[in-house]
Symmetry: C2
Subunit: 904 residues, 2 copies
């Protein structure tokens, strides 16, 4: 018995998303709910996958099922596909399981041919409308099914319009459209080598195949990769009877959100166009009206739309994104889905729904897309600054950004690769521009509304966007745009404010983002639920303060080397490294000590009462010295000096000494060389100085009544003896300072980064000398995979990701199969040895949702990430607690339950 | 109750080695066995360790126990320490648990002072003898206890001798010795700031302390490090009544082995000196007589010595190294221990003892020090070559070697660092020369016998040595030596043959080593016992043949890149890499294909019937290109050409292209970059070519009736998808070749190196696509530790080993705690997925005994190592089977028993 592959709308429901795709499931659900949905049927995703496996188009079986469904549809509508008197017209649309807006293909008005177009004209009494539908079908069919470039049709359209003196498409007469139809048909024969099929069933068959195939078009693939959507889901196909928003001024089409997707305000939000088809709204080729105007244009329809919106929102318990069409005054709902929203709206809507009693706090938290939360923390224009406003458009995606104007996606991509910050400026964007949007700081368009492609994509990516800024006259060819008398050339600096819609000439100071009230509330709920602590990575007192503001419960990683790179310190650091003898080296170290001490005092002041984890020096010493090339260049210059004075001679000597040191420190694989604790063991004087500076700072602060929760972290430990020796030295420094400082309480912890695979494998041994472990997942990933990040990303990682050899970049999201196994082993064997061992991660994964889920599951105590990612981390930690309950780590604390590596 | 710290000889036995040290335990055992051993007592190793913990010399408790033991000794001997009429004289010697010959200090004749020396003179009726004993004590005490340099005493001795016209020490009269005694005392006061202690108990106390302390002298530390002896064992101290071999011509002293330590012949072997003390034999300052002469000199003593030797060998069931002294015709046994022997002797003795029914085959195998076995495989002089023999000495350690003459250890060490092969040429060697011996190809001395320091050390290290080559007149100061009229200068090339004792001018062709009959027999026993297979690493047919001769059961690693480096191939490889387009690249690959194919055919021919594992290209491509510096230099030269012709222009263009490629291929951490299977995925055409060459070669060979057991190995896999994709390509190539070759059987296996930590962690996934795993322990160690071998050894690994932070170099002996855990996990999870999975290791650890033991324990199927290490590997594998029985791997094959990493 074969599996059912085609479902009438009333046969499905919302739970059948994996079979019917998102759109199909919602159409079914709405149909069952009795909403006015144009009838139709859905071909399942399974049928799509079978299609990919076969070689010869649609299977006979599927085609028969489709024909049956079509006959039922014809009966329901009282129309017949291809019937000259009463033709049924249908749309054929993709509908994937996970929403991929605009990424796949759609056909409208299918069922028209030379004969049925006449029937449609007769039925509607509107020949112009019928021809308009037909020419649209021809173009869509040509593009989607036959693969003809869109611009070929656009060129013909422009030519016919200008020959007939028509400025807009609307001004083209029925005759003009007939001419266009003939031209289009000619174009199809010429370009595709076959005529447009008059056989309407052949149209349908080819359209279904084309929609299936569009699953594999490049932009859809790119979108899936970007959004981590599996390639093997396939798409459903929805075949739905057409309703027409372009039959006259009592017709129209639009998109509404039940709440504002930018702000979250509880207010019908959206746009519509009178006398238009849906594609006109989505494509952004005409600028639509805000939905509020509909109250005046069509008061009854507006009221009905309000009622439907409310009903759908209640039904789905979430904000809805609804497509509607009004045909001759009658409202049809074409689609509904949970509306995309930016972070601010997501937060407000979630919080409001809780307050309205619609959902629980846990559900509100689960609805927040953690990866979008940092949008809220986007910067805005500093209002006190003078802004030279060039133009104002629609505030399509919040946040402000500056960059150099690029007028096409390829230029944007190229510049971005060269490290230039770019703003993408386009008349409108299409899915083909997506790589340009991705690399740009923000997007500006001169056409299209709040739901245009540019707006939707930019909001999804959390990038600022200004849309429909119609006063911009963009000349792509000349690479410039004019606004009245002013000209902006490609490469000129612009600033945009996606919150106000302003486009500003030059670079404007930006203000730092602030918490919204709703976010604070939501974060409060998250804090009450999560079990994972969050800490900030902060290398200076300012970052520490920011971290604290964003909810850090401590500093998880303070990289002392960042203090070494400060311009006033670097020369001293270099003197220390190049020093010929101990005396000289100690002199430089003595100079560094008070500098480091004051850094640490600043950190302790900010974090009063909260733990501060200070990592001792980590990078190889050569990172602090100039490049060999630079030194050689300067030596050449000095050699060219005709009569060198004493100063030149001294400089030459100094450079030569540095050069010798640079060469002696050079390494084949610096990543795996003399750095981290290895440095601390071979050159103990450096860590001794750092330990002393830390303890003196702690002592000073404690004297002043500041509560210092000090944690000293030794990097790159791979063998227990490394930590044991260094811990002894640190303890020694602590005792010495305590004595000298008159016995002020000197409590501290000593722990280590677990970032070398061997450290994780021997964590039980290492735990004996560690009060805490912090998994350094950046280096741990590098060594576990054997990938040098510096080399991999350019040389093969991109290839691996492009070819789906790796599903995700392991430097972005933690590899739970490999690196994760080491972390689990490290945590469980460390705790078996020392139940009170504190564990956390620091590194980029600390701000990644999936990675935070993993950290929760293995029972880490905390994650540490950059200050701006903290709200995201707090939400993700709460989501993890909701999804998984209390971590297994609690169990792992008892040694009997620890799973084990094999014993020899 | 305090622990007993001092043991009379008759209180101990051989099993108390850890308490009494090796020497003490054997003295006790011999005493119990009723042999004529001068009585004495032993201070335990525990006392030594307590001494190191205290701050103030010997504890009162230990001193009291020592005094009691001394009183018992005095009673037994009827003498008294310090008694002027009947003085007891004692030796004070170190005695560590593990033998460390010559590494620590010894004092003889202790108990002499200005008063007792007269008593000794009276008692023996030999004033000259008494004074000679006294001056020896003064010198030893000065050096060992008071730290005065030996040469200060030697200088005084020379001065007194020449003033009195004495050529040898023996020619010095009693008067002369008295003068010497006074001079020595003066030297002691002047250099040590204190007089020689007349108080004999003070002598004893200081001597015990000095022997304890000598545990920490630099040469002892170095020896322990070299031989992996723990630092915390400490040494026992043996205090034994003196007997004198230097009381006249009916006295003597010597060392015998119960069998020949170089050849293993069952014949008393050794040396003695008439009228001498033991140190004269060991130090090599007089050239002793072979023990056979004793039959004439002292027939009764010789017969007794034969009887004692036989008794001791039977008692200990092993060849013994016996020190004896004859005092006034009476034989005393001072020491016995299992004799050090070279590999050839070890093998012969072990085999002979089995045949004599003394030990079982298993015990014979366990007695072989696997790490010395490769001595047997040392090369010898090609007898057909003309050798310009300069001189002939004693054949002290077998094997032949060529190198440049260095006349001191420091020079040898310096040259060796510069990559120069060195022969160390010394009048005699002392423990201070050990670093020079270590780096030399071989050692020559002009003084000393077969048991001299140089001979013992060289045999231990498996280096050729010629000793006592008295015709060599070595002038260290002028850096040359003369033999008659011929002069050899420092840096001149010499060849030595340790088997014949010849020293030859210039470099002489050497012949390859052969198996001895006994070794073949022993290896046969080993093969019958071991469960681990052994394979050879071989990159060409010659190595494959050698491997097969040494018992390889297959090739475990054939590195195809070594074929790429051949001079006729490198230019083609470079063209392939630099190629601008596919056509050019494919042209170069097409040229390489037949070359590789013929390489593989050669391998298959040699290994007919045995498996051959071929690893696809591994190193990064830049390794095949010239260095950037070289290219720039050549470009500069070309730029200086005044009128460049077409050739120069073409070369410039080619170099510029290469330079671009070199730069684009440059990596920050090449170890973790684009190499191994990453290369095979990014540039699939290279592996495609290799796979085709392999299959064509296999097909050709099979056509000729050769049995090809083909295993293709993919390097550097870290993710299952890498292997899956490449395996598909290999399968594809196999099918294609099979079709083209007319369907000749194309059986093959595909497996992978497990050398990236992630591969071991995800071995269960990877096993799905692998027929075998070969653990690449070199890279696995690098990545698990995070050590770049290129950088670590120079920059911090030496520091780690020197400071005992690491006990052993993990690149020499497998780190079982960390890397080993990954291997265990890899094996067990791989087999859980695929029970028939074959596992092995290739890499330097494959020839290391401890590592082979580990491989056996975790149940690997085979180890693969360089051909010359195969006999060692076979023995070690048998030892492992004897020590551990059948591997747990058999159990690991059933998935239920697999221990597991923690599951999330």
């Amino acid at each position: 018995m074969s599996v059912k592959q085609v479902f009438d709308f009333h046969e499905g429901n919302a739970s059948m998303k994996s079979v019917l795709g998102g759109k199909g499931a919602h159409l079914a659900e709405m149909t069952r709910a009795g909403l006015q949905v144009p009838p139709g049927f859905t071909i399942s995703t399974a049928a799509c996958l079978s299609y990919f496996q076969g070689n010869e188009g649609l299977s006979e079986e599927l085609w028969q099922e489709t024909q049956s469904a079509l006959r039922r549809l014809e009966e329901r509508k009282g129309q017949k596909l291809g019937n000259a008197d009463n033709p049924l017209l249908v749309s054929v649309r993709s509908g994937s399981v996970t929403s991929m807006p605009g990424m796949m293909d759609t056909l409208l008005n299918l069922g028209l041919n030379d004969e049925t177009v006449q029937g449609l004209a007769r039925q509607t009494g509107n020949a112009r409308f019928a021809y308009d539908c037909y020419r649209r079908l021809l173009q869509m069919f040509g593009e989607v099914v036959l693969g003809i470039e869109g611009f070929r049709f656009e060129k013909i359209l422009s030519r016919v319009k200008s020959a007939r003196g028509a400025e807009t498409d609307q001004q083209l007469s029925a005759d003009g459209l007939c001419e266009l139809i003939e031209e289009y048909k000619g174009c199809i024969v010429a370009r595709a080598g076959r005529p447009f099929p008059e056989d309407v069933h052949e149209q349908l068959r080819l359209a279904i195949q084309a929609v299936f195939s569009s699953w594999h078009n490049p932009r859809a693939k790119f979108y899936r990769q970007l959004n981590r959507i599996p390639d093997d889901q396939g798409t459903a196909v929805n075949i739905q009877s057409m309703v027409f928003g372009n039959l006259g001024s009592d017709c129209g089409t639009g998109v509404v959100f039940t709440r504002n997707p930018s702000t979250g305000e509880k207010d019908l939000y959206g746009e519509y166009l009178i006398d238009a088809q849906g594609e006109d709204v989505v494509a952004g080729s005409r600028t639509p009206q805000p939905v509020a105007s509909l109250r005046n244009d069509m008061p009854d329809t507006y009221e009905e739309l309000l009622r439907v919106a409310k009903r759908l929102e209640n039904h789905y318990r979430d904000m809805q994104d609804i497509e509607f069409t009004v045909e001759k005054g009658k409202l049809y709902i074409l689609q509904t889905r949970n509306g995309k929203r930016n972070a601010q709206a997501a937060v407000k809507i979630a919080v409001d729904l809780v307050k309205e009693g619609v959902i629980a706090k846990e559900e509100a938290l689960q609805r927040i897309e953690a990866s979008h939360l940092d949008q809220l923390l986007h910067r805005g224009i500093d209002e006190s600054a003078v802004a030279d406003v060039l133009a104002t458009g629609l505030p399509a995606s919040p946040g402000a950004a500056s960059g150099r104007a690029a007028f096409d996606a390829d230029t944007a991509a190229r510049w971005s690769r060269d490290g230039i910050k770019v703003l993408l400026v386009r008349p409108e964007t299409t899915p083909e521009d997506i790589h340009g949007v991705l690399v740009s700081e923000g997007v500006v368009t001169s056409r299209g509304g709040m739901t245009s492609h540019a707006a939707v994509v930019a909001r999804g990516m959390g990038k600022p966007c200004v849309c429909g800024c119609e006063s911009l006259d963009i000349d792509e060819e000349r690479g410039q745009m004019t606004v009245g008398s002013r000209t902006v050339k490609e490469g000129d600096l612009l600033t945009i404010d996606g919150a106000s819609g302003r486009v500003i000439v030059g670079e404007v100071p930006l203000r730092e983002p602030k918490m919204t009230e709703q976010l604070s509330e939501l974060l409060g709920w998250a804090d009450a639920i999560r079990t994972l602590e969050v800490r900030a990575n902060a290398d200076n007192p300012d970052d520490a303060r920011t971290g604290r503001q964003f909810g850090a419960q401590g500093i998880g990683l303070c990289r002392t080397e960042h203090m070494f790179f400060a311009p006033d310190r670097l020369p001293v650091v270099q003197r220390m490294i190049v020093a010929d003898d101990d005396a000289e080296r100690n002199k430089a170290l003595a100079q560094l000590l008070p500098m480091q001490q004051s850094d640490f005092e600043g950190m302790f002041e900010q974090m009063n009462g909260l733990p501060v984890t200070i990592r001792l020096l980590d990078p190889p010493l050569h990172e602090f010295l100039p490049q060999e090339k630079e030194l050689l260049k300067r030596l050449e210059e000095l050699a060219d000096t005709v009569e060198p004075g004493e100063a030149e001679k001294a400089e030459k000597k100094a450079i030569e000494a540095t050069l010798r040191k640079v060469r002696s420190l050079a390494e084949v694989n610096p990543m795996l060389g003399l750095r981290g604790c290895r440095l601390g063991l071979v050159h103990p004087e450096i860590y001794d100085m750092q330990a002393e500076a830390i303890f003196r700072a702690a002592s000073r602060c404690r004297e002043r009544g500041i509560s210092v929760e000090l944690e000293i972290m030794v990097p790159l430990v791979g063998h227990v003896n490394e930590l044991e020796i260094l811990r002894n030295r640190i303890d020694h420094a602590a005792r010495r300072v305590k004595e000298e400082e008159g016995g002020i309480d000197a409590a501290y912890k000593v722990g280590t980064m677990i970032e070398v695979p061997r450290a994780a494998l021997t964590a039980g041994q290492i735990a004996r000398h560690a009060d805490f472990f912090s998994f350094g997942t950046n280096d741990l990933t590098q060594m576990t995979y054997g990938y040098s990040r510096d080399d991999a990303e350019g040389k093969f990682l991109t290839h691996y990701l492009d070819h789906k050899l790796l599903q995700v970049n392991p430097f972005q999201s933690l590899d739970t199969d490999g690196v994760g196994k080491l972390i689990e082993w490290g945590v469980s064997s460390g705790r078996a040895e020392k139940p009170e061992l504190k564990t956390g991660i620091c590194g980029e994964h600390g701000g990644d949702k999936e990675s935070i889920f993993f950290c929760h599951r293995v029972g880490l105590n905390y994650v540490s990430c950059s200050p701006f990612r903290l709200p995201m981390a707090r939400i993700a930690a709460a989501q993890a607690a909701i999804a998984y309950g209390r971590p297994q780590g609690d169990a792992a604390k008892s040694s009997s339950s620890v799973s084990s590596l094999p014993a020899v």
